[in-house]
Amino acid sequence: MALLTLAGICKYYRQGSHEVRALHGIDLVVDKGEFAALVGPSGSGKTTLLNVIGGLDTPSAGSARLDGTEITRLGESALSDFRLFELGFVFQAYNLVPVLSALENVELVMVLQGRSAADRRRRAEHYLHLVGLDEAMHRRPSALSGGQQQRVAVARALAAGPRLVLADEPTANLDSENATALLDIMHSLSHQDETTFIFSTHDPRVMERAERIITLRDGTIESDERLERHHSQRAAS
């Protein structure tokens, strides 16, 4: 069942007198529960595409629908609410609010959603437990390692109950051990909550765990490959 449908997405911008085609004619359908990787060289349009899907950037042309909602037609305020209730974000770095503890960072989005204190505390503790941060939940970001910070970001993204989690190079700043651990956590939670993940990467370790690899080049989709072995692993799990 299609969760996300992109049709003819284009994103052009000017750089001096030069027009840059960041995205050109992107058509893509992502089903609910998919764990998909956007791959491609730097400048291929991965981050721009994630920004368009996340309502952080507006396309020059085309349509982006999430579960029936036309994202490109939402106004400023509606987009904020859309991101708050429907999406989760994990960025490459500096994901957390420095003045809040790990627990408070995870709770923040749920506070904005208007969830009760008891509900958000229960969910925040649950997801921090799932990402293995029981002992560190009261620490501020400055007292957490890069890998721990990314895990907090994943816990925050999932605890708010989004339909879709967008991760922009989540392992780019992590060492191999931490990157693998983070991907395993994301993969496992994706299956557990049936949450759809789309993440950009050019990290082979990430690609190994993806169930679908969408390759971008010069703003267009070069290939779109579903990897059956991961589906079978998933069915087995």
Binding site: N51, G54, L56, D57, L66, D67, G68, T69, E76, S77, S80, D81, F82, R83, L84, F85, E86, F89, F91, Y94, N95, V97, P98, V99, L100, L108, V109, V111, L112, Q113, G114, R156
Partner: protein, 425 residues
Amino acid sequence: MSARHGRLPVATLAMLAWRNLWRNRRRTLITLTTIAFGFGLSVLLIGLNDGGHNSMIRNAINMGEGHLTVQPPGYLESPANHRYLADGARLSSLLGALAVAGGIEPRISLQVLASTAHNSVGAGLEGIVPRGDSRARMLEPALVGGEWLEEGDARGIVIGDGMARKLKVPVGGKVVLMAGERGGDTQAQLARVRGIFDSRVDELDDFLILGDLELARRFLVGEGADPEREPVTRFAVFLDDPDSVTYWKRAVSSALAGESAVALDWREMMPQLVQFIAVDDAGAYVFLVLVLIMVVFGILNTVLMSVLERTREFGLLRALGLGRRQLLMLVCCETLALSVLAVVTGWVVGGGAHWWLSRHGVDFSALISGGTAIMGTFMDPVVYTELSAGRVWQLTVIVFVATLASGIYPALKAVRVTPVQALRT
């Protein structure tokens, strides 16, 4: 998609603002110290200014015509010896019935020419009750020769040392007081100098002659007044509570309805002094504005730096679903917290200094050895800071609003950033 909306509870807003404020502890402390110091200075300056002015006003009221003056209509605009309150006894009874919280003093003020064998000078003769008048209480300690007037001494006068020098008259010397009559004739009374005072106010020392009511009343009788009706030129009303002037002015005016007399308050009686204080206040306000500019730039610097440093974080918050308005509220709340802290710290510094100086005062006597006479009154050499409740409120609101307003630009700058721009930084 459901029509759910994000919200930022006040408790979370306040918690975030407070923690953000202390992210750069040193910068916030330096800013707070600057603001508190500036605000404290303003409180002191305004307090000293008000203290000095109030001292001048109190002295002017005591040396002059009281908080309220009852006198013939038109006397202020055109003072003349033939303008007097013919039935002083009746007016005294009417005023006495009001049971004014304070005191009422009958007075006779006349313009005379004081002459000796050596010289003649224009003077103001003030007929008073020698032992009950407020001027007597202020000038008796300033006697530098002779003694004070006694009740019923219909020939005795007390003059300032300036006039004594001009007339070349010692204590015990004779002075002829002459006054013009309405018909054009002149009347004269012989007086004897009982004492000489040095008030350090030139206008008093060179011009004032104090005598018993009976001495001055002889001139009114010469103008045709009936001495049995105890004529006077005015009644000076002194109030225990200076803030009750408006109330008592209304009460006295009502009591005098139908009488040929009007009640004026000290502001109407001394318009030059009021104007002088207004001009002097303007100077203090200029200083206050300079301090406010310092305060505004202090806050602007702190909040703007804090905003510019957190561009990426604002992008993150916006990406997570924080609306522009909520972000605006967050930055405004940080400014609000800084403003509240600044005002509280400022009041601790300035209020503490005011508390001490309102009890011990600042002694300016070394700086103003030439006297403190201004506009016909004088300022006590030791000035105590004074701040009325209205002044406290005014200063607080001004600084609070100025600091709050200084956060508007950084707040607008923060909300203008788009998430994509911010996350690229």
